[in-house]
């Protein structure tokens, strides 16, 4: 599994397309607590984490399904602790999931202003 992380609008999906030949048909964009692992590239994993009660548990249960996936997760970890409980929980769940995924990943790339920084 390859994990691509970075802030909003930094070019994470463009990087996946350029580096790994991902096309629109290969992409599942998370908008709720479901992921279609039959697609090669899963975008907005942070949106999945927002909607699923136990995102790490879900990934563990479906471990075999995403071993060859390209996962894209937005960095939402800076700034002050959010005022709203919902955003606080979202940031914590997403952060823990990010740590789990970086442990599991064969490659971790952070995208900064369109440039790759290889973290693993």
């Amino acid at each position: 599994m390859i994990l691509i992380i970075g802030g909003a609008y930094q070019g994470k999906l463009d990087f996946a397309k350029e580096q790994f030949g991902i096309t629109e048909a290969d992409i599942h964009t998370c908008a709720d607590g479901q992921i279609d692992f039959s697609r090669r590239c899963i975008d907005k994993v942070e949106a999945f984490a927002a909607c699923h009660p136990d995102p790490i548990g879900y990934f563990e249960e479906n471990r075999a399904a995403w071993q060859d996936s390209i996962l894209i997760l937005q960095d939402i970890f800076c700034g002050v602790v959010p005022m709203g409980a919902e955003n606080r929980v979202w940031r914590q769940k997403t952060g823990r999931l990010a740590q789990y995924l970086t442990r599991e990943a064969a490659q971790v790339s952070r995208i900064f202003c369109g440039l790759e920084q290889r973290l693993k």
Binding site: D75, W90, C113
Partner: protein, 181 residues
């Protein structure tokens, strides 16, 4: 040589940008492109502190609020330009005071194109921007538009500049090129 620096608030990017600009300028002319439109006492104080910071460095201040190519009406393109900041230019262009701060995405795109043209035109430039992309916050539509446009120009400048640096608590991470002072 062109440099692009970004990072969070108070991470030392302006200070490093000044040192890079001085090193690039050598004995040649150096310009500080002032981008902040002062709107009150707080801004005047910020400007005063920045002027104090730059005292004795030999920068000529060129005021420019949206179209950075305008600088070249007064300044020598073979000189060294410190543009601090890209953020401020895009903000001025996207929310123009003369249109009562009503959002003007086309104006912001013209500002972005001008920055890219400027980077291609002048001998030496150091661009400073702000990294505002990693917070778990749902912003208003206009703020989201601002982040999107700023990120797009950041990416264009980062693609074009010889060296790209991210600052964290005073420490540079070199994403592209090299930093020699």
């Amino acid at each position: 040589m062109t440099f692009f620096l970004s990072g969070g608030a108070k991470c030392g990017k302006s200070g490093l940008a000044q040192r890079i600009a001085l090193s690039l300028a050598g004995d040649g002319p150096r310009y500080y492109v002032a981008t902040l439109i002062p709107t009150g006492a707080e801004d005047q104080e910020r400007i005063r502190l920045h002027l104090e910071d730059r005292a004795g460095m030999g920068f000529q201040t060129v005021e420019c609020f949206t179209d950075v190519m305008d600088c070249l009406r007064y300044a020598d393109p073979r000189g060294t330009f410190l543009v601090d900041s890209v953020t401020s230019l895009i903000q001025n262009a996207l929310f123009p005071a003369e249109r009562n701060y009503e959002m003007d995405p086309e104006g912001a795109m013209r500002c972005a194109d001008s920055l890219v043209q400027f980077a291609r035109t002048v001998d030496n430039a150091v661009f400073v921007s702000d990294y505002i992309y990693a917070e778990p916050v749902q912003y208003s539509a206009s703020t989201e538009e601002y982040r999107k446009i700023l990120a797009a120009v950041d990416r264009r400048l980062a693609g074009l500049c010889d060296t790209v640096i991210e600052m964290t608590a005073g420490q540079p991470t070199i994403h592209k090129g090299e930093l020699k002072l």
